[in-house]
């Protein structure tokens, strides 16, 4: 794996050599090189997400080279390193990027990893841009910790409101992973949203990461006959939950958060995914900020449609390029530039940062229809 990421770095820097030629239109940082350390779980348990992220930076490096992303004549060099879903390796890589001249750290992939690793970078004064950490309390880890991913609390309430209104939901059952920051906060956020609409929660079931058999929990839920099944899970588990729910004859409408927003979810769950509503930060069908070209070229290059993780990573490259274009080349300057960032057109849509360093963007409520995501109406 080290070889592979080494290759990516080599490929990135090679293509970026021609970048300065392609977009010679000089900004204040023209001719300078900005090194960006990227930590992604390319292999291991979270490999599905990290691979999407890595792919997005490969594509972004190409697009910077070709001038499709404008960095004002500066070079941005993404050093993508695989943390192999191992928190210890995330820490090691964070230490490395804190002392090797990187001006920005993008990553790590999971919220739980971020909570361990970010404080190290914060102490070293390294600016952080999280692209996939959606748990609560990420940007409060330091004064220069940003994120461009909409948190669950920014997407779930809207999705719940629409589902409750549309399906006249009175009762709901929740199944969520109780050993992960993300899925755990999913439960709190869904519960708050359901309570706000006066929906009775008739059953709460839990599971563990990597579980494959959810039939006991779903048998219990089925016996309570809820109107709505809330799935607080990552894509891997969510697939099996919706499939096994169908197998057991549980016919409630299903709803989930960002964890389900992936073409892979539909591909793996097949017909069982049909009708599932997902509160999400990215709609692959949007036409903002070069998204159509991004989707087309991603498909062509990697053979599958980009998911939310890829889009958020690519948007991070777009945001970083914008800050560099305005002259930011050091960690401190990037932090300041992010704080003053005007609205940037990204593949996620128009994006800016709140004073809390969380992202300001519109959420999308999607529904699986005919084997793809569509807006939930």
């Amino acid at each position: 794996m080290r070889n592979r990421s080494g290759f990516i770095v080599a490929a990135a820097s090679f293509s970026l050599l021609s970048a300065s030629v392609a977009s010679a239109a000089g900004g204040p940082a023209a001719g300078k090189t900005v090194k960006v350390g990227v930590i992604a779980d390319v292999t291991g348990a979270a490999g599905v997400y990290g691979t999407s992220q890595k792919n997005a930076y490969v594509l972004a490096a190409d697009d910077l080279a070709a001038g499709r992303i404008d960095a004002g004549g500066a070079k941005i060099q993404f050093d993508v390193q695989d943390s192999a879903s191992d928190p210890a390796q995330v820490v090691t890589l964070t230490q490395r990027f804190s002392g090797d001249g990187s001006a920005l750290l993008i990553g790590p992939t999971l919220s739980s990893e971020a909570k361990k690793a970010d404080p190290i970078a914060v102490r070293a004064g390294l600016t952080i841009l999280a692209t996939s950490n959606t748990a609560q309390g990420i940007t409060t880890l330091g004064p220069c910790v940003f994120r461009n991913s909409l948190a669950e609390e920014q997407v779930v309430p809207e999705a719940v409101a629409r589902a409750v209104a549309r399906w006249k939901v009175k009762t709901a059952a929740v199944i969520y992973g109780d050993d992960d920051q993300f899925t755990k906060s999913d439960f709190d956020i869904f519960k708050a949203a359901l309570d706000a609409h006066g929906v009775t929660i008739v059953d709460v079931e839990t599971f563990r990461k990597k579980d494959v058999d959810f039939k006991s929990q779903l048998t219990k839920i089925a016996s309570k006959k809820p109107d709505l099944l809330v799935v607080g899970a990552f894509q891997e588990e969510a697939v099996k939950i919706v499939v096994q729910a169908k197998q057991l004859g549980l016919n409630a409408h299903a709803i989930g958060g960002n964890g389900l927003n992936s073409p892979k979810f539909i591909e793996l769950a097949g017909p069982a995914a049909e009708g599932v509503v997902v509160g999400a930060a990215y709609y692959p069908g949007n036409s903002y900020g070069g998204n159509r070209e991004f989707v087309a070229r991603y498909k062509q290059r990697f053979g599958s449609a980009p998911d939310q993780f890829a889009a958020q990573a690519y948007a991070a490259a777009q945001i970083t390029a914008r800050a560099v274009r305005d002259g930011a080349t050091t960690s401190e300057q990037i932090c300041t530039a992010f704080k003053r960032l005007p609205v940037v057109q990204t593949v996620l849509g128009p994006v800016a940062f709140e004073p809390s360093r969380d992202v300001r963007a519109a959420s999308a409520v999607l529904q699986v229809k005919g084997g793809g995501f569509a807006y939930f109406k």
């Binding site: 079931e205 599971f207 990597k210 006991s216 793996l268 097949g270």
Partner: protein, 292 residues
């Protein structure tokens, strides 16, 4: 609902059992713990998936993948265990080399297929559901249970009533004495690995089908459970492993049904701990394989 939960537990137990008997067979014969068993489990699932995706009908693909798993097992023995056996390396060195083999196999398959989860092509297996009284049962669940029980019976027949079974039991009893009596040691061990790995491979294919999910880390999920099952059943005891598998699966399922999934592993392993305190050599005692 309790009936449905028991059915859930039995279907789960069948797959656990299939995985665990191959695991325990190698231990019973060679006194070594083959930690690459889970890697072969995964490799077979991928082989079946790949063949199905390239147009093979599922039964043919599964059969070929089972043979592939068996051959992989023989290769594993040649590379990771035989050289150590010749040097009388004891039981710890093979344990480590089997971990190494597992890492290599895992790496190769990740390189070939990537970290993504895969599924069998649409319509390659029966998706029908039956309603028997209050029970909802999938056709696939029944097939899996049938195949698992069939393979277990076949293994028990081979062990009891064939010359090969006699050889395997003799080698398990005393390797040196068996060799002195003219049993071809290396051939018997190779065949043991073939059978054990083929069974592990069958478990991989079946579990991949049951959850319609095949991924390079699928072995990790079942490895610890398999180890717990064979200890509970009595190390080396095939029947014990089967009983242990159903006990674990039922305890797990009923814990989730009555207490909640958060306590599932705590309760399951707690029960196992208690059983082992009462019967330190496992449910079916020691060396049951040799008596089989």
């Amino acid at each position: 609902m309790i009936l449905q939960q028991c059915a859930n537990g039995i279907f789960l137990g069948a797959v656990y059992a299939l995985f665990a008997i191959g695991y325990t067979l190698v231990f019973g014969v060679l006194d070594i713990l083959n930690l690459a068993h889970a890697a072969i489990f995964m490799a077979a699932a991928f082989a079946a998936l790949w063949l199905t995706a390239s147009g093979w009908p599922l039964p043919g693909a599964a059969l070929a993948a089972v043979v592939f798993a068996g051959l992989l097992g023989i290769g594993l023995d040649r590379v990771a265990f035989a050289p150590l056996r010749r040097r009388n390396a004891g039981t710890l060195a093979p344990l480590i080399s089997s971990i190494g083999a597992a890492i290599v196999i895992g790496g190769v398959f990740r390189g070939l297929f990537g970290p993504d989860e895969r599924r069998f092509p649409e319509g390659s297996f029966a998706a029908a559901q039956f309603h028997i009284g209050p029970l909802t049962v999938g056709a696939l669940d029944l097939i899996i249970l049938g195949v698992a029980l069939g393979l277990m019976l076949a293994l028990s027949y081979v062990m009891r009533a064939t010359p090969l079974g006699r050889d395997i039991r003799a080698v398990a009893e005393d390797r040196v004495a068996a060799a002195l009596l003219g049993i071809d040691l290396e051939r018997t061990i190779a065949l043991t690995f073939f059978i054990a790995s083929a069974l592990g491979g069958a478990a991989g294919i079946l579990i991949g089908l049951q959850y319609n999910s095949v991924s390079t880390d699928m072995g990790g999920r079942i490895e610890l459970k398999g180890l717990a099952i064979i200890i509970l059943g009595g190390m080396g005891s095939v029947t014990g492993a089967v009983v242990g598998a159903f006990v674990l699966a039922l305890v797990e399922t009923l814990t989730v049904a009555s207490i909640g999934a958060s306590y599932r592993d705590a309760v399951a392993f707690g029960v196992m701990f208690l059983l082992l305190v009462l019967r330190p050599s496992g449910l079916l005692g020691k060396r049951a394989l040799r008596a089989a």
